[in-house]
């Protein structure tokens, strides 16, 4: 990228960041945003087509002229695999301040999501986190993370988000005190001590992956970690072979029992390294909300699409998730995942990963390669 082009891209990027943050700020003020989703989405897609070479090629391959993108749905979505193979950013690599990476696979490639300006990510995460999992909680709120700290896992977007929540919700505490996985080991005793020291009048928020919670539950056995009234527990992600697999409802029940909270206070989060926004179950927000239904912030949408045509499908039908995330200013506004989803009243349901092609022949399937431990 040349110097002039670079500064032009930076100015355009800064302006887009400001517009997205205005949408987020309006949400926080419970005001109506003056910015229409489609207008901002179209400007983002055109910006990315101009400044991210891969996206320009994808538009060409899909027969989409960037200057004609007028709605979010006009913009081709970037498959998550592209983050493993190419630079998905609209700036000089030297300008990257933070790079989040996906976990590794047998084929070695890790997805990378680089940020020149992480402020929009942070604003989006905090705004929707406060409106969902931390709704109604006034700082200081103890944040207990059953996971590694950002210092230990600097390329984990989840660790970053948890650190962000710890600093924002519990500003008086040194952030390291919030994390209870150190050098890969779960500090159950430390967690016990911290929970025991919580004030009964101050609710706490526990943030954890599903597999970390399974390990914690296994460690606890019949023991409990009773949290103060009003506390919540976030669970996110699958098991990825890192713990035994537990059916979702059973895990929710076990978590609620272990922390002595209501099942509706166990809140699921759906996020991805390739995104800047997260989606949360709305059980704390809406008493009619069902567990397993994820709500979207006004700056991000999950659109189920047909996996062959990539066209949106009707509400109630199962498709793969095309995520339109306005906070992905410098990377990919629209991301094509491999997660199966269905639109339902109040949001979308997450139905797991797409299975690979069924057996026809002895050619190895991609999902078999990615899950293999290597035979010879």
């Amino acid at each position: 990228m040349g110097a002039n082009e670079g500064s032009g891209a930076r100015e355009a990027s800064d302006a887009l960041h400001a517009r997205v943050r205005a949408v987020i700020a309006a949400f926080e003020r419970r005001a109506v945003s003056l910015e229409a989703f489609d207008a901002l989405a179209s400007d983002l897609a055109r910006f990315q087509a101009r400044h991210v070479p891969g996206y320009g090629r994808l538009c060409a391959a899909r027969g989409v002229a960037p200057e004609r993108i007028a709605r979010a749905s006009d913009a081709p979505a970037v498959p998550t695999d592209a983050f493993k193979l190419a630079a998905v950013f609209a700036f000089d690599p030297n300008e990257a301040r933070v790079t989040f990476r996906t976990s590794g696979t047998t084929l070695g490639a890790r997805g990378a999501h680089a940020f020149r300006d992480v402020g929009t990510y942070d604003a989006a995460a905090l705004a929707f986190g406060r409106a969902t999992v931390a709704r109604g909680l006034a700082p200081p709120v103890a944040v207990l993370v059953v996971g590694p700290s950002p210092d230990e896992a600097p390329d984990s977007s989840l660790a970053h988000m948890c650190g962000l929540f710890a600093r924002a919700l519990d500003p008086g505490q040194p952030v390291e005190r919030s994390f209870f996985v150190r050098r890969g080991t779960l500090d159950t005793a430390g967690l016990h001590a911290r929970v025991a020291a919580l004030l009964p009048s101050r609710p706490a928020v526990v943030l954890a992956t599903s597999f970390a919670l399974v390990h914690l539950l296994d460690d606890l056995g019949r023991d409990q970690l009773p949290l103060p009234p009003g506390s919540r527990v976030m669970q996110t992600g699958g098991f990825k072979g890192r713990s035994r697999e537990v059916e979702a409802e059973e895990l929710r029940r076990a978590i609620a029992a272990a922390f002595a909270i209501a099942e509706r206070d166990v809140v699921g989060e759906y996020g991805m390294t390739e995104l800047s926004s997260q989606f949360w179950e709305a059980t704390l927000v809406d008493e009619r909300a069902r567990p397993g239904v994820y709500a979207e912030p006004p700056w991000a949408r999950v659109v189920p699409v047909d996996p062959e045509t990539l066209a949106p499908i009707v509400d109630g039908a199962v498709g793969i998730a095309r995520v339109e995330d306005l906070a992905n200013v410098d990377s990919a506004f629209a991301v094509l995942t491999q997660d199966r989803v269905r639109r339902v009243p109040g949001g979308f349901e997450l139905l797991g990963r797409t299975a690979g092609a069924p057996p026809r022949g002895c050619s190895i399937a991609l999902d078999e390669m990615l899950s293999s431990r290597g035979t010879p």
């Binding site: 891969g54 899909r62 592209a82 193979l85 490639a109 996996p307 062959e308 094509l336 026809r360 022949g361």
Partner: protein, 353 residues
């Protein structure tokens, strides 16, 4: 009484004779094979060219030596490339005096035809689905990792399970050869069985820089177009079509893509973007020997076959079948196609002496 090596070879030869008869009758079998495999009539005819009907004495001796010994073998066939049934049954017959064959319920045609024409009283067809009821010495299972794991978990104690899992082929093209000739030969390997075989090449390393690789990719695209006129691609499943759309989008973004209705060739600097089956090839430049060795090493656990126009220019994985381009789908009948071995066998039991 155990058979001599010559008797075992003679038993395998009866299967080769059956294969000759099946090949002669292929017009009758082709429609059913087309329905089960998704291949076009031209694709079925091309596939029949890979059905082994001859083998040298040395090859059969090697096949018998690789087969081991067992009193009885139960063969579980998956919806493999359709000609794969012959080698599977031949290996079992070389090993054992009694063989039961359970064809794939979805693709039973060739296995049934072979067993019926062989008329070998030692080989019987079965529809038994519960592997836990099989009381033989060995079970030979062909299929996906999940199928293999399921069979292992259900097999009776003491029964040795020999697994033949899925895999893939890769190609290596030298930097001084005839590009068009290499591209045409590789296209022949790709088109066979619509690339659904474990020998089918899906990644091709081209010695040299990106421009050499791009030149080869363009040539391969042209040859695949020619092939698709002679041997149109068959139907893909919905999942295969979805994988194809996803891979093409990824390569359009992350590299270069030569796109056609019935095939696509992608160019990327890493082999991590392995394409799905269905006539999709990833071309990767290999500017250095060290880089090529690393890239092949990354894929080695999945590689069953390597095709090349210059075997002196690199080291193929020791277990891989090495052949000339255009010959990848025709390995000699000298043992299992896949020589990666089955570590699960060693974990479960020692081979029968």
């Amino acid at each position: 009484m155990s058979r001599t090596v010559e008797e075992r070879i003679a038993d395998v030869r009866r299967l080769l004779d059956a294969a000759i008869a099946v090949h002669a009758d292929r017009a009758q079998l082709a429609p059913a094979i087309g329905r089960s495999s998704g291949l076009t009539p031209e694709g079925v005819e091309l596939g029949f060219a890979s059905l082994e009907t001859t083998a040298t004495a040395a090859e059969l001796r090697a096949l018998v030596a690789s087969a081991g010994h067992a009193g009885s073998v139960h063969v579980i066939l998956s919806a493999n490339v359709f000609v794969g049934a012959l080698r599977a049954i031949a290996l079992a017959r070389a090993a054992a005096e009694r063989v039961t064959v359970r064809p794939s319920p979805r693709d039973p045609v060739l296995a049934r035809a072979l067993v019926e024409r062989a008329a070998d009283p030692a080989i019987t067809l079965t529809a038994v689905r519960d592997v836990g009821s099989v009381a033989g010495d060995e079970v030979h299972v062909y299929g996906r990792e999940a199928t293999i794991a399921d069979v292992r978990s259900r097999a009776r104690p003491g029964v040795v399970v020999r697994a033949h899992g899925p895999g893939m082929g890769v190609a290596v093209v030298s930097d001084g050869g005839d590009v068009e000739q290499a591209a045409d030969a590789l296209a022949a390997d790709v088109v066979a069985f619509d690339q659904r075989g474990c020998l089918s090449p899906r990644v091709c390393f081209v010695r040299g820089g990106e421009s050499a690789a791009a030149g080869f990719a363009a040539a391969l695209h042209g040859r695949l177009l020619d092939w698709s006129r002679r041997v149109p691609r068959g139907s893909l499943t919905a999942e295969e079509r979805a994988e194809q759309v996803r891979w093409r989008g990824t390569l359009a973004y992350a590299g270069r893509l030569w796109d056609a209705e019935h095939h696509a060739v992608g160019l990327a600097t890493t082999p991590a973007a392995v394409p799905p089956a269905g006539r999709h090839v990833l071309v990767v430049p290999a500017p250095s020997r060290e880089g090529l060795a690393d890239a092949i090493g990354l894929l080695a656990p999945f590689i069953v076959a390597v095709g090349t126009d210059d075997p002196s220019g690199f080291a193929a994985p020791r277990h891989a079948r090495l052949s000339a381009l255009g010959r990848m789908q025709r390995p000699p009948l000298d043992g299992p196609v896949d020589r990666r071995g089955d570590p699960g066998v060693e974990k479960r039991a020692s081979p029968v002496p």
